[in-house]
Point group: C2
Chain length 374, copies 2
Amino acid sequence: MLDATSSYNPMDLRIPVADRTGHRTVPETTRRTDRLPGTRYGNRPTMKDVAARAGVGLKTVSRVVNGEPGVTAETERRVQEAIEALGFRRNDSARVLRKGRTASIGLVLEDLADPFYGPLSRAVEEVARAHGALLINGSSAEDPDREQELVLALCARRVDGLVVIPAGDDHRYLEPEIKAGVATVFVDRPAGHIDADVVVSDNFGGARDGVRHLIAHGHRRIGFIGDMPRIHTAAERLRGYRTALEDAGIPVADSWMSLGVTDPERVRRAAREMLSGPEPVTAIFTGNNRVTVTVIRVLAGQTRPVALVGFDDIELADLLQPGVTVVAQDAAALGRTAAERLFRQLDGTLLTPERIELPTRLITRGSGELPPAD
Amino acid sequence: MLDATSSYNPMDLRIPVADRTGHRTVPETTRRTDRLPGTRYGNRPTMKDVAARAGVGLKTVSRVVNGEPGVTAETERRVQEAIEALGFRRNDSARVLRKGRTASIGLVLEDLADPFYGPLSRAVEEVARAHGALLINGSSAEDPDREQELVLALCARRVDGLVVIPAGDDHRYLEPEIKAGVATVFVDRPAGHIDADVVVSDNFGGARDGVRHLIAHGHRRIGFIGDMPRIHTAAERLRGYRTALEDAGIPVADSWMSLGVTDPERVRRAAREMLSGPEPVTAIFTGNNRVTVTVIRVLAGQTRPVALVGFDDIELADLLQPGVTVVAQDAAALGRTAAERLFRQLDGTLLTPERIELPTRLITRGSGELPPAD
DNA sequence: TAGAGCCTGGACAACGTTGTCACCCTCGTA
DNA sequence: TACGAGGGTGACAACGTTGTCCAGGCTCTA
């Protein structure tokens, strides 16, 4: 992972999973000597330099820079002049060390490139901005180890708070951090084995309603294609699917369900399988946006019309023929709610962890209203 | 912007545009007293605490934590034990102050929620990760002031480098920073008034090819709907459009062009206008993904078929009727290339600023091959 | 005129870490 | 026994900022 040929070699952020201290265990050879003293920060001027040039004390410069009272207009002018002349900019690293707050929060999600997480991330950023904090992002790529590595690196940076979309299902490694005062909110999926704030969509209810919708339009054989049930959202949606069928007195056939398939090729195969055979499904419920998109492609190649309801809204869904009926969740609202709770934790106005469930919305556009064709 | 009712009040990151020092000018009343001494970082243990507990010197703890040689197995064991018992984690803020590198880079883009920037951002993150650095993201919302504010806040944090998708067209404010050693790469659009690394798509060539494609299919009256020409990409695409028409000897009518419209309502109106009147256009070239999506909706409501080529690929474009022909750019490649150049600057292996242009690709799917219907 | 009180400014320590350097101990050799 | 070499260890300063505290000069009043 580390590029040993590079001479840019900052502190290693990779934290071995077995190790909570944030220390490196990489071989000595990948390390480089420190930058020479005097070249740090490319020789940026400090407050001391400004003070010398303005002929005032160090603290006076600090006062001017921070807009603190107690400096005459004339002194302030001299200081400003020196600041301008030297191109001084306050070093927030030192400030952070002194003040104990970093004014930054961390967001660990699955994949920044996923259209579902973009709006979520942006919403978190906006709330952070409103509170004067910057946002540090990281993608876990659905890998629990990488999630932990990222989270602990952020803790070592002493971010004030964490918004985490969990990849793993055990977050006890965060206990010491939370105890030490790192505000933490889990989004989209709950935390594992620890008591923490959680903001999720009503995955169960949404999936159940989506499948009920298909049943209401006459379908009895309904397929389900979703992610690995070890992912909480996937499991909940599967549970909603099962519940809807059971409530309607429809026994579920194993051949209708495809779990844990995620790459397009396997999704295609799974869809084709449940659409063939002696008792093919007449409708499909898809467990997330990526699966939906792939299944749409498969259905476009079918002669017989097959009904479809997907979890997550997708762009242009209304322009397809037929329009795609979906169970939509509000990604931005998830992010916003989570971030707001985070800052309320930091305020101290929020004390007991809570689980918040945001409603989903069924959007009918045609594909979910097709009658069964058998 | 600052939430004065909140008791979480970290250092203000908003930097007045007229002021380069990073100091605050907000009214005194929004400030709070410092956290009480002793409560900083929620009372996290330091190396000193670990040293005391293990009965060793401070420096020995540092050595163990950093995997430096020269510690006996027995001493190391005692230190590790103390680390474990106290839940110590190294404070990277202090480390950063001492070492002069932050192992983080900043990415300022327009909107994290835009499907074009998600993959770009992810690509930058991956490269950063490979170099052991974290990524701090910020959205400028296409506001030059906000861009500058963000960039300078990141500089105050002493990020090692910056990847910037400019919103403004004057970046002289970055000169002192670059001189001070902050690596900088501009992506998607060039920097204004400074000499810096730039990675862009071939906006001119892509647009020209797209419009040529329409001309090759018999169109003579071709509309253009794009963003404000003050945005470099928009201007380049407009230039490509004009060039293609001129090369074909087709005089351009003002009524065919709609510039600077960006919100869906105005895009709709602009499209309808160029589709009505005595000499309606028979084809439209759209300047970016958002405009394309809106125009698709308008065209879906038209009885007469109108050809369409859009800049930027969009998801599901192949499943629409007809499929949408686009000029695609590779967002991930833009991000990757930029980030790699950034780290080469930090290496010192990259000395002179360069302009890199990545090719675009015309993807024909049907909408661009419709013949003119007049 | 003296004392009180305010305004301005600066010296100093502290935040938690790392680099430098010197110390001590052990071991091997003269 | 004395001495040098070398490995393990810790004291100390420094990174750049901010909070505390105090000094000196001023104004105002009794």
